[in-house]
Symmetry: D2
Subunit: 341 residues, 4 copies
């Protein structure tokens, strides 16, 4: 069946599989010390425009958030995030498992509002009892967000200014970074984004890899003995080559950006198809996740012909649902959808 369920429902981009097969018999050292990891690191440093950045590879998104946040926060610190952020809701308490609180701010279309962050910080430090509270030590935001929306360059700059004022780190979760960068509404480039963040991760799992996320620490930001901390969290992959080869391929001949562009084109077409069929949008999303409102009976019938995912109950008769494109979405998939809507 044609599926728009999510952006991790198919395998890997064929160029990745090809490279894995070609290198399969090479004997390589483990744990991220092989030549492919090194090559991928160099290519990523170039792509983000930070020659002295440290690049490390991890397996999945929740794992990456957990490792980055828990190794960069001090003992008395928590991470500030929008109430709808992945770390706030959909990681089963992985951040708390490491002993740190997620301090939740209101969410507007999946984004925290810079003014809310500033206000939180002012109230915090003016509270005479703040020694008994969790110190905000980092701001977490996802770009694109869990609702497909994007912080503008202005918003990011404002958030970054608050972070600097109060000595907080700024961490950008780029699980779907490729789709954000290629969005028509993105008003900043990868190097511009990387220049604002203290640490960001470039998502592989949702952008064409079998698994893998690349963490980019601005020069000097990587925690001491990071590999040991990764190991301690059960997150160090023995065959680090699996991550190195995939990211080396993704950052060769702009594959990462080609995948992003393709999915965005497919998503724009998706919007047009929904519009043509008079199906209302639920959120204005400029990236590869599209949200529409369906009448329940219609939804049930549609589900027999195409896969998509439940998002939120709206009322007794209507449901918000999500359609997602990726590297593997085809013209045929769209044509089929157009036909069955």
């Amino acid at each position: 069946m044609v599926s728009f369920e999510n952006d991790y429902n198919t395998g890997a981009h064929p160029e990745i599989l090809k490279k894995l097969a070609e290198t399969n018999l090479e004997a390589l050292s483990g744990y991220g010390t092989d030549a492919y990891c090194e090559s991928a690191r160099n290519k990523i440093r170039e792509a983000v425009g930070l020659p002295d950045a440290d690049v490390e590879f991890l397996v999945g998104g929740t794992q990456t958030n957990m490792v980055v946040i828990s190794t960069m926060l001090g003992d008395t610190e928590g991470v500030v995030a929008a109430k709808t952020g992945h770390v706030s809701v959909h990681e089963a308490g992985a951040i708390e498992y490491t002993g740190h609180k997620v301090i939740e701010l209101p969410s507007v279309n999946g984004k925290m509002v810079p003014a809310d962050l500033r206000h939180y910080m002012e109230v915090f430090y003016s509270d005479e009892t703040h020694e008994h509270m969790v110190f905000p030590g980092m701001v977490y935001l996802s770009w694109p967000t869990e609702f497909g929306t994007l912080y503008s360059k202005n918003e990011l700059t404002e958030i970054s200014a608050v972070c600097r004022k109060y000595g907080m780190k700024l961490f950008v979760d780029g699980a779907r970074l490729g789709y954000g960068l290629m969005s028509p509404e993105a008003d900043l480039t990868l190097p511009e984004l990387a220049a604002i963040a203290d640490v960001l991760y470039i998502g592989g799992t949702k952008v064409g890899a079998l698994c893998g996320e690349a963490v980019v620490f601005r020069g000097g930001c990587r925690p001491k003995r990071f590999i040991t901390s990764v190991k301690k969290r059960g997150a160090l992959l023995a065959k680090g080559r699996l991550l190195g080869i995939q990211f080396d391929t993704l950052f060769t001949d702009d594959l990462y950006f080609r995948i992003g562009r393709h999915a965005i084109e497919m998503a724009e077409r998706l919007k047009q198809i929904f519009e043509a069929h008079g199906i209302p949008r639920y959120i204005e999303s400029p990236t590869n996740q599209q949200y529409v409102v369906l009448e329940n009976k219609y939804m049930e019938k549609l589900r027999e012909k195409v896969m998509f995912s439940f998002w939120e109950k709206i009322d007794d008769d209507h449901t918000a649902v999500r359609f997602v494109t990726s590297w593997s979405t085809t013209e045929e998939d769209l044509a089929w959808l157009d036909k069955v809507l």
Copy 2:
């Protein structure tokens, strides 16, 4: 200087000090196994009307919340609390330190709204992705709350019904329990409260003891090998007698309730004094914590004559402040306040 700063600014009720001195040279076994602990347990079981309850003594409030919550929750569970609950704000992340999320609900006058809890639970279990979320495993509420307010019997019954429906434990933080029970607005007795909760703690630190909280587990609710879990959290007192003797005294000749009644009387008088001076209340509190609004200049002058605590900035010219009574508040203290206001 006369102080209404909080309810833990003086030592212990004199009857407690007397008993500590009388028993000082008796050689007793450690870690809560002495005869005074046993006697205190029996008196508390009688006071709460639960003959098969398990009673355990801990040193302080945050420690008690942390020990109770972390030993009663399952690995995948978090605790639901009002956004203003002590565990949510003023414990420096102690619950998260044990690996569990505090799931925050809106707070109205320091209380969670039963309907909000019910709604949260319905949405949680109807969300298809809830396996990726923290399961609500316990409800935490403070009685009285951090704002001096009290849940009514009806509200507690409604919350308890939601807990039973979804298999959640109900934990009542009674750091100031004595002041709640003696409040003119309390519409339930200690046995009635204990019958609703799965576990509650009877606060000693803020109700006349040097330190100490008594945890009451409804029969069958005490976690297995509880003493070892307490030790593991650095919370097992070697000279357990210090807790046993204090609670044995507090539950002899109704001392606990006499302390509560005295402080409530003093608080009622405090209200009258503020009213007589035309000082507006900030919150309607029926217990020993009273909140009023002061003009900043006036507040600064008052601070030279009497101690109270900052609560919240209201606007550039006004501040909400807190005055607290306790076992040690005297007629003279009130007379002085009346004079200097």
Copy 3:
């Protein structure tokens, strides 16, 4: 360069890569709910002879040990392991990170001695202060061990008897299980081993997969809401297919056992080659890891022609080193070694 460095230095067995490519465009559900995972689970249940076992897939060995141990232990419990066990030494404290102690017993050739375990348990429960100590809640052993050795069926039965007597779980780390089962010295089958353990894991990473370990819980032993616990530890793979397809392939046409047999044959040949060259063994290992003693100068020269790994310094002139075979070791590799020794 020819490499005997370890059993995870090459990619995946070609049959696995082939299957990954064939299934690449299929849209599958995530997080281990796809049809390949289901098929793999069934094949594994059959291979271990436990129709009601629960089979779950994780990414790596340390992660698996951490997840299994921390979800199966109670709050007051620790895991007993040989001093040389992987969890004791080479996991950077991953078990302790979850809040549990590794209780170390003496190691003889990489194995705990059943009598030592029994003695430890007897002393523990006869110690009047044991409530202040970590309760032994599980026994961890690796089969084969980190030294390539194997517990006999008798030894395992004795250890299991102690576990049952004291209510401890028995966990078998089978990172190299395939090599143990095919060893000429193995005196039990996979179903016999699975019948003794409460939980065991079948290693993929070191036996031909790109990554992945399959945990087999005896019926009724899987922790409640296991998937949520996995997610909470950052260990849930989005594209669960990557694990399902690999294990489905490994347990099709006996591939797992064929890989094991091949590596064991190569290891036996390795022994003969060393013997022929008069190079002394360091430990008697019946599996795919072979340990020999080299003179330091000779070792340095050899390193220019073949890769192997440092094991232990013996004296100022001699070093113990490790040579490992795997699915990808070839006749040519052995011939080269024979030539350059």
Copy 4:
């Protein structure tokens, strides 16, 4: 019954109780910010000869070990201790609960051997896989040890030299410090000991207080935002006065040392009594804990007349037992023992 069971079986030294009563009605600020805490800090700084030390008060011994170790270690570090150290055995895994491993060294009469420590460190850093292991970040030792023995100044200097060489902190657990300092075998003073350690704690619970331990951080060693970290671990006492007043009293007119001297005198007499009765020692202890070997039948009869504690089974007919003196041991207690032996 006369009791030599331990050094925490009676209440507090009468001078402490007197001071608690005298100050009882003073309104003081909470959490260790009162004038008595400040006075106690100054007196302790003087006693240890470190004008710029930071002194903080905690409630109990295990809590202190847990707080100090977990706030001073880095993420990848563990603490090295003798196998018989309190943190290794009798804290129910409190250190591991904070996510850190206790690395156990052999114990000789309760002490680690400096040469063993040096050897451990050399092997650790020469192991090529040490990035996958727990880094030794601190050495923990108790003075006196759990066996009543004392490290000599030479031994401490050697251990300290290893710590400096490898960048490890040295932490001295002084739960029974007063008894060590007054021992005839102590060959160093409190300032000399404090000059060797990076952090040490001066035990109150076992040296005359109701509860309380004073942590002395050498200048610059106190972890950032220490109070918040203490709160996070549930270890911050609301009525900090309870600790301040006790330590202020203990360090007034040499009370702490008078208590130590008295208990040591009683212990020396105890030794003579055992010798006179031909009862063999189990360990040579120069402090307030004395260990002797009793025939089991004799032991059972003695238990009806005097309290002491089980230490270890020796053989089927003999048991090692412990007799302990403290501030409250009297001439009459000794005379009684002499009579009933």
